[in-house]
Symmetry: C2
Subunit: 203 residues, 2 copies
DNA sequence: GGATAATTATGCGGAACGGTACAAAAATAG
DNA sequence: CTATTTTTGTACCGTTCCGCATAATTATCC
């Protein structure tokens, strides 16, 4: 882990400095991708939302597919962190799951778009035409289920079903929420759905 | 149920007869929509797959959105029929579910595309921009869960969780398969997933 | 200050898009 | 056979699309 580079003076790069912050741009274009999906999101909309001109977007992120994948990975990482923060709590696993699902429902049904989950609701469709998008989405979903698995591992549930099996089921519930929210199912209905599912998963 | 119209001579309509069958066209354009999604499917591809010229498609089905919705409803109806055929069988509900999921996995992972489910994998993304697509998809998913509910109602499972609750969970499993298949998860892994979920749903 | 390097802004260009106008073709009605 | 009705085939129109070429701007290096 030795760091041999000089860090004095923060090593400001040579040319004109960027007028934007990468994470902020990704979070702005996310809104467009989340609403329109990858295919229907135009570069005009994306650059307008980002506050960057088209060539700046290209120089910083590459083409539309690369920009979309960067957005997916950024959101995926932040989502896993949020999931871990909830799932590593001290309460019983039932309560941790309840908080997680409630938070997800709030995000997924947020007005005015009811966007659902960007992975299951917008990335999945592109998988056959854009295999790299599919691979990135698959990895993120796998990391979601790993987070669930860590949560179930730190609980006093019976060893069967295994934490991994419970995690798959918890993921399926989350994906169902992400889909049905986008299709218009009211938040209250989604909440009662999760409330009835949690005891089944945690039996 | 009285049928007062004259059916003699089959009432051949006036002008030039159509050179296609509606259901066949819908099943051909389905392949394009299923692979590319709604937004990325071009009318050139759709009319080529249908074997119809563009104006014929428009005259018969309206614009691209209407054609897509007609395709969704056609597949949704046939899917519900297939689900009912399996779920109304005489075996225990666990076996019926197993057969249903096995059939779904075969379809969802079919080479070369691993298309997944057209509803959850291609319709969901369009919901914010095309509310009629979202409404149609939501209705179809609701009819899927009604079919599950009928299956659970004709079983000797305990009354709690209710057939409706079990149906929601069975639907969530089906949607998860439809997503993960499209994202590249191997069929064998999906089968072990369902095998571990069925006892949980039917506990 | 001058040279260099990176980013920003303007604008374009070829291709693909969804949708339609129009005329030829194929059937029935009388 | 003539008139009518519907479908089919060709060709096109205006728009939007993605990506880039080019030049102006803003910083550091010497």
């Amino acid at each position: 882990m030795r760091n041999g580079t000089k860090i004095e003076k923060e090593a400001r790069p040579r040319g004109r400095p960027r007028g934007f912050i990468t994470s902020e741009v990704l979070e702005r274009v996310r809104d467009v991708f989340l609403t329109k999906g990858f295919a229907a999101a135009s570069l005009d909309e994306l650059s307008a939302a980002a506050g960057l001109n088209r060539p700046s977007l290209y120089a910083a992120f590459g083409d539309k597919e690369q920009l979309y994948i960067s957005t997916l990975k950024h959101i995926g990482q932040k989502s896993v962190e949020a999931m871990d923060a909830i799932l590593s709590g001290p309460e019983p696993i039932e309560q941790r799951l309840g908080r997680l699902y409630k938070g997800a429902i709030d995000i997924y049904t947020k007005p005015p778009n009811r966007p659902g989950c960007i992975i299951v609701a917008t990335a999945t469709v592109e998988s056959p035409s854009h295999p790299r998008i599919g691979a990135a989405a698959n990895e993120i979903l796998a990391s979601f289920e790993k987070a669930f698995e860590r949560g179930f591992a730190s609980s006093d549930l019976k060893p069967a079903p295994s934490p991994a099996e419970r995690a798959s089921m918890a993921g399926a519930i989350l994906y169902a929420i992400g889909i049905r929210a986008r299709l218009g199912v009211p938040a209250a209905e989604l909440r009662t759905f999760t409330k009835s599912m949690i005891p089944v998963i945690c039996r």
